[in-house]
Amino acid sequence: MSTTLLRNQRVEADDYTPLADDAALPASGKVIVSYGRWQAEREALLASSLAIGVKLPNTVDVAGVLPEIADRPLIALDFPAFPDGRAYSQARLLAERFAYKGELRATGKAVVRDQIGFMVRCGFTSFELREGQDPAACIQAIHEFSVPYQQAADHARPVFLRRRA
């Protein structure tokens, strides 16, 4: 199954491959491993020549695991169900408080046009669209609201700052 990846507000080829916990390491390339595998096999993974992203469960306290993942080129956060918004808080902490500069990827059942605007605001930079989503409509949805009330991770200039000017 191939998913559509949005990055930089366009459809891009996904250069990362998800790697199952029991799959052998490929010789080269970019992979995404589970947080469990990252914890268990960190030394071996770092010794490979792979670029390694880590996918966190949405129950993990980002502040607690930060030292283990801060240098990863990609962190994937999960939305295991459409209404489960825990990864929004994880994303804001990574992007705003901890100034994570790698690729912050949204995965799972909420990655649809009706939530992608909030995801961008919380600091996600790439999106594995759920199956059946129209990428053009998703890109358009990012711009559904032109002025936010809140400052957040996307650095859009919020209403209260515009009013202070």
Binding site: D61, F82, P83, D84, G85, R86, Y88, S89, R92, R97, A110, V112, D114, Q115, G117, F118, R121, C122, E144, F145, S146, V147, P148, Y149, Q150, Q151, A152, V159, F160, L161, R162, R163, R164
Partner: protein
Amino acid sequence: MYQYDQYDQKLVDERVAQFRDQTRRYLAGELPDDEYRMLRLRNGLYVQRFAPMLRVAIPYGLLSSKQVRMLGHIARTYDKGYGHLTTRQNIQFNWPTLESVPDILADLASVQMHAIQTSGNCIRNFTSDHLAGVAADELVDPRPYCEIARQWATLHPEFNWLPRKFKIAISSSTTDRAATRVHDIGVHIVRNEHGELGYTMYVGGGLGRTPIIGVKIRDFLPEADLLSYCEAVLRVYNRLGRRDNIYKARIKILVKETGAAKFAELVEAEWAQIKDSYLKLTQADLDRVKQHFSQPGYDAAAANDTTYTAQIAANPAFAAWTRRNLKAHRVPGYSAVFASLKAKGVAPGDIDAAQLDAVADLAERYSFGEVRVTHTQNLVFADVQRKDLYPLWQALAGLGLATPNIGLLTDVICCPGLDFCSLSNASSIAVAEEIFERFENLDDQHDIGEMKLNMSGCMNGCGHHSVGHIGILGVDKKGEEWYQITLGGSSSNDASLGDRTGPSVSRADIADAVQNLIETYLAERHSEDESFLACYRRVGMSPFKTRLYAAVEAKA
């Protein structure tokens, strides 16, 4: 009152466009049912027993005449000619078609109104004191703080998909008229010993299936830090609130399971990280919003009126109304006037299009073009001068809005119940009507005195039964409507949850049961000055229970 600027207006307009597209996609089969359900709820749209129901936000209860007229227009054009005021300062329309809702929202947006976040698992409408700005016991006007917080909460990117709904109430007076202790966050605006403004913060209150009184987690939070502190509470909740069981997903359960002290520690730790961020309010931010709530041009000569006392002497019905339906105003010669939506033969909180139009006119004529809705499902004209009380009373009487029963037994708080709501187990409106008829005689009601009778059709508790002096909860027993009674609840400063009397009583017995409770109170009270609540707290459950069940058994 607050006026939208270009940004507020644009956001509301864009939300209408977004919702119109979501509805179009749903009707075209492009959006799954369960996802459209969650999206429409975030814009106040339920699908009820007979038809959709649209819940429109009335932020902190304040409406202009222009907005009231628009509500009348919506009732007339898209509904069956009326609306229903809720217990959280919203108005609901029970009969619109799904297809018409985007047009209703566009009409609302044209008068600076919306239905954003009036339902769904997100931050709901902010509620406050219906006497804000005029009450004599008020520290400062809470409405600017409500408006600032409303903007912060609106389409908050992080908190739109919470474990469960989240309700915040702000109060700034000695007497809590906003039921803050039964909210997810209750904010009391206070002054500390140095004379600085700030807030006492409560969390984890709520009604519903597991009613809990909120606990204090901070004595004094500086004025500038309201948003950062709320954001810290919400972030802890979004991360740790339970999502495995809808009945355990409110923050009250998290606070209870974590322990209030530990929960407060988590909040404080998070808050320490963000309190000096952009969320800190500046004096300019506060002043900008505060200027929208400046005092209207009161007439300094208002107190000189002499006609009022003459009319009271001449007209006993007018006099009775002034005793019950007026509240003291901080400006001499002015009163806050309650229009009662609890009349015979009308569901509590219902108001029709003609009444809405007339209320808009009366507000313009007598109260600076503004009206408030209360969580007790009535209306308030907040700034009426003495000479206008008589003509206003006459006009309200002609509209059926002058029942002199504010705070009395027939001023029932009541959810729509089985007549409309698909969650409900039992009728509430019909029971309210039966109680109204039984206690209609005002002399009896005045003798009974201050009384909150709150009724919900199911344990979700929209009728706030848990905090009624007498609470009535509809339950389903093998397909029949039964009623569980509680005594001694309060949502004011002395907030408490009612105690169950015992087994539920049948539909046929419920009005008798209320009468028996009232008669027990009349027999037990020290004097007329001892309210039902005070009497119950003194004598306890025993005499009430004995009389109630003796009567039920005698009938059986």
